[in-house]
Each structure stands twice: as C-alpha cells, then as structure tokens.
Symmetry: C2
Subunit: 280 residues, 2 copies
C-alpha cells in the first residue's frame, strides 16, 4: 500500500500532537508515525491510545528518518526543537509546528541550515491537556493558519498544506505578523480577560456561578504554563488588543455610571452584533 | 385528582415563563395554568408548545382566579405587574417573579396592599429568548434564590419554596441586597465584560474566532433590552464588580508589560483556581 507520507515524526504528544497522530493513523496517511516526548507517562499514554506506532527516547531519534516533523511542544521551545530535529534529519526533511504564536518563531528559523520549515497553527485547541485529550477528528472543518515567509520554498508550503487538508482542516495562509496580530484579538487577549474575570469573582459568588459565568471563563482552565508563554511571546499585540478592550469596557462602564440607557444599549448591541456574526 | 396548585398564572411567556408552564403541566402540578403576554405571537407559541392551558388578553384576567401568580416579565416592569396582578386577584393570592435583580423590586413591593409577594430568581437562564426556548426541565438541579424580607409571611416563603422544589430546583434564601451583590459578580458584570470583549474584537479576527472566543462571549448574545435593564437596576453593585475586575486586569496587563513571568503566572493561576473550583 502506498501511503501519502512515509515516516512522520511528532515531537510532543499533548492534546494537539496526539490528535495529529490519531488523525494520521485513523486515515492511514503515514506508513510510520513516530513520537518523542518529555515524560515516560505521556509516551505510554500516546502508545496506549494509538496516537503513534512507536515512541523513541529523543526527538533527534524520531526525526532521523522522518519525511515530515511536526513540533507540538510549548511555544517557548519550538524554535530550538525544530533546529534540533532539522540537524538530526535528512536534508530533504520538511518541518512544521502547532504553536499559537508565529512571528518570533518564524524569524528565529529564517536561516535554518538543514531542511525547510513553515509555521502552522491549528485553531482547534482545547483547554484539556495531555495525550488522552487527543481526537483524530480534532481538525475536521477547523482552520489551520500557515505562515510561509519569503524564503519558504513553495513546495514546502504545498506539502504541509496537503498534510493539514488530509486531516480535513481548512488551510489559510498569512504572514507570521498578521497571524500574531489577529490571534491576539481572537484568542490571546480573550484568555487573559477570561482569567481576570475568573480571578476577580468573589468566593461567595463562585458558589452561584451558572452557565453564563462558566462559559465566559472556560478558557481560564487552560494550562497556565503554556498560556503565559503565548501571552509573553505575543506581548505587543496582546497589549494593544487589551487596550482596545479597555476602551470599550470604559465606555460601557461610563454609560452605566451616568445611567445612559441609549448609549449602554448601543454599546451592548455592538457586542451582540459581533457575537451573532460568529454563530454557535 | 388533587393537584398541588389550583390555578397558576404566568405573566410573560418568554423562555423562563414558558419553562415554568411546561414544568407544571408535565408534572401535573396545577389544575389550570393560565398565561398572559404582550404579543399575540408569543401567546400563540405558548399554546402551541403546551406551556399553558389557556392564554388570556390581560394580566388582570389571568390573575383573577389564581392561587399563585409568577411574573416573568423584564425586570423594569415586574413591580408594576405584580401590583396590577395583586389588585386584580383574591386577597389570599401569593405572588413571585423570575427577575434577575431583587433589591429595588422587593423594596417597591414592601407595602403591597393585597396578597403577599416574595422575590425569586432562578439561576437557569439561557441566551435564547421566547416561548419556544422553554424547557420543562430547565430548573432541574438548578438553584433558585428566594429573597424574603422581614414583612414576608413565613407561609408565603414556604409555599413558593415548595413551588420551585416541585420543579426540581434547589432553593436558597438570602436578602435582596445580598442577592444583588453576589449576582453582580457572578452574572451581571460578566455579561458586560463578555459584551465588551465581543465588541472590541476586530472584524478580521472575528473570522478566526474559535471555540475559546465563542465560549467567552456567548452571553453577549442575550437580549440587549433585557440586559440593559438588569445592569442599570443593579448599577452600584455591577460597578463595584467591574472595579474589582479592572484591578485584576490591570495587574495582569502590568505583569505582561514588564514581562514578569512569575507575577503573570501567579495571577493566571488565581483565575484557573477559581475556574477549576466551579467545574464544568
């Protein structure tokens, strides 16, 4: 049988890495899916749920014979891990990642000596973590943003685009800078705001929290370690999104303070319109 | 057959009123459920889904022979509607409501001439509106807060408590002031924050909004007309909750601005702890 890919290496088998492995294996898209991860507990779980054919001790060993390497480690480590994998692999290796920020990463990897890299960000997160949160259909119908730069060979972009599409994702291309600016507004700043909301709710009120509060703060359950890395890596854009949010909140607060129903209504309508436009 | 209640009147057959009617009728808790509402369209829908036995033209007519009247109209109108219903009903009538704010309402109804009133707030909202969003099991396992005041007869409190319990809700008693303070923190301020977040998200980013953003802003889909009334009626408490939120957000923003990972981590942990404590 001819597989679309020969060996695919997955570095980091958290929820995203494990979902990629499951998606590849369930669709028979790769002859061999090989993984490497930090802890033996995660490695064991990834094997148990069938996310990989094999787990190996080091990312270098996983990358050695890989045609494609997908680095799914926390954003702070991705650049280093891509470099280590590239150095261990054949010169034809194609590398990509699953990180939530792109500008610093793509800049750091501009002069990659060995192999070719293109950045990816699947917009299919979950606040659950670890291989057991993996789902082979996680990417179905979801958007994956890819961020090729001028030096990225067209063939690398095409192959990685085909990879995500074979997992049933919709791929969209933009620059790393555009990505980071948009995601600050749609994902990173909202995370910090949801966390501040959860943190500011007094203990007695927590007891009465109903579905509205639970929805509004759900993302604050995400891994603090991962999210502080994302927020710091995309600091300038997040701060500017927070600034925009602060202006709206200030306007609403003032409308309430001055008991101005017309203005309050107008501002709440703006929120409702944006929310309704996105749908369920 | 002996029913727990003879005639129950429901004033306003939106999602909450219709859910009460359905819950009563599905459990055969009332001999006759009679409704009144503003528009003939809602009246027709309430009949079609089986939320009531009968719809009548005016709330006075609905209240006339009722043993219990539940006013489920927008918060701004509840006091007036309770008074009108009380005046039209027998002097033994018990009245309650389903509104999201309690202090002003309970104060306005302190000197009710006719019948007895106790405030209720079922914490079982939905951002969907209208009778067709009704669900006879909406209150199952949910909390209903009741806010008796010094002048409320114990018998009135007991009967209304029994009413909510027969719809399978858990009843909790507190003062109207306590209610408004806690709900500002768990529900009203979060609504305004979610709306500001939705309103501040730039158009290009809306296109990329994934499940995190959707969750965080879901409540902003609620009726603007209803919510501006709630926010204004509970203005002082909402402003003080927003102030608390603003302090947390400011601290997080500063930690990000100064690139202080330890402080940022500590603050995000606080959000995660509160969110984890509430559960799914």
């Amino acid at each position: 049988m001819a597989y679309p890919w020969d060996t695919v290496a997955i570095i980091g088998v958290g929820a995203i890495g494990a979902s990629i492995g499951l998606g590849l294996r369930q669709r028979q898209l790769a002859r061999h899916v090989i993984g490497a991860t930090r802890t033996s507990k995660s490695a064991k779980a990834a094997m148990e749920i069938g996310a990989v054919d094999e787990m190996v001790e080091t990312m270098e060993k996983a990358a050695e014979n890989a045609e494609l390497v997908v680095v799914c480690t926390p954003v702070q480590s991705i650049a280093e891990h891509v470099q280590r994998c590239a150095a261990a692999a054949s010169s034809e290796v194609v590398l990509t990642d699953g990180g939530s920020t792109k500008a610093n990463l793509c800049q750091a990897l501009e002069g990659l000596q060995h192999g070719t890299f293109v950045g990816s960000h699947p917009l299919a997160g979950t606040h659950e973590t670890g291989p057991r949160a993996g789902d082979g259909d996680l990417f179905r119908g979801r958007t994956v943003i890819m961020t090729p730069v001028e030096s990225t060979p067209g063939d690398t972009t095409n192959r990685v685009r085909g990879f995500w599409q074979s997992l049933e994702a919709e791929v969209e291309l933009m620059t790393p800078e555009q990505h980071d600016q948009l995601l600050a507004s749609s994902s990173h700043a909202p995370h910090l705001i949801a966390s501040a909301l959860a943190a500011s709710t007094c203990e007695d009120a927590l007891r009465l929290a109903a579905s509205g509060w639970k929805d509004a703060t759900r993302i604050a359950q995400g891994s603090v370690e991962l999210w502080q890395q994302i927020l710091r890596d995309n600091r300038a854009n997040v701060l500017s999104s927070l600034n925009r949010f602060g202006e709206l909140l200030h306007a609403m607060t003032e409308a309430l303070e001055h008991d101005d129903p017309a203005l309050l209504t107008q501002l709440l309508e703006r929120g409702k319109q944006n929310r309704d436009a996105v749908g369920n």
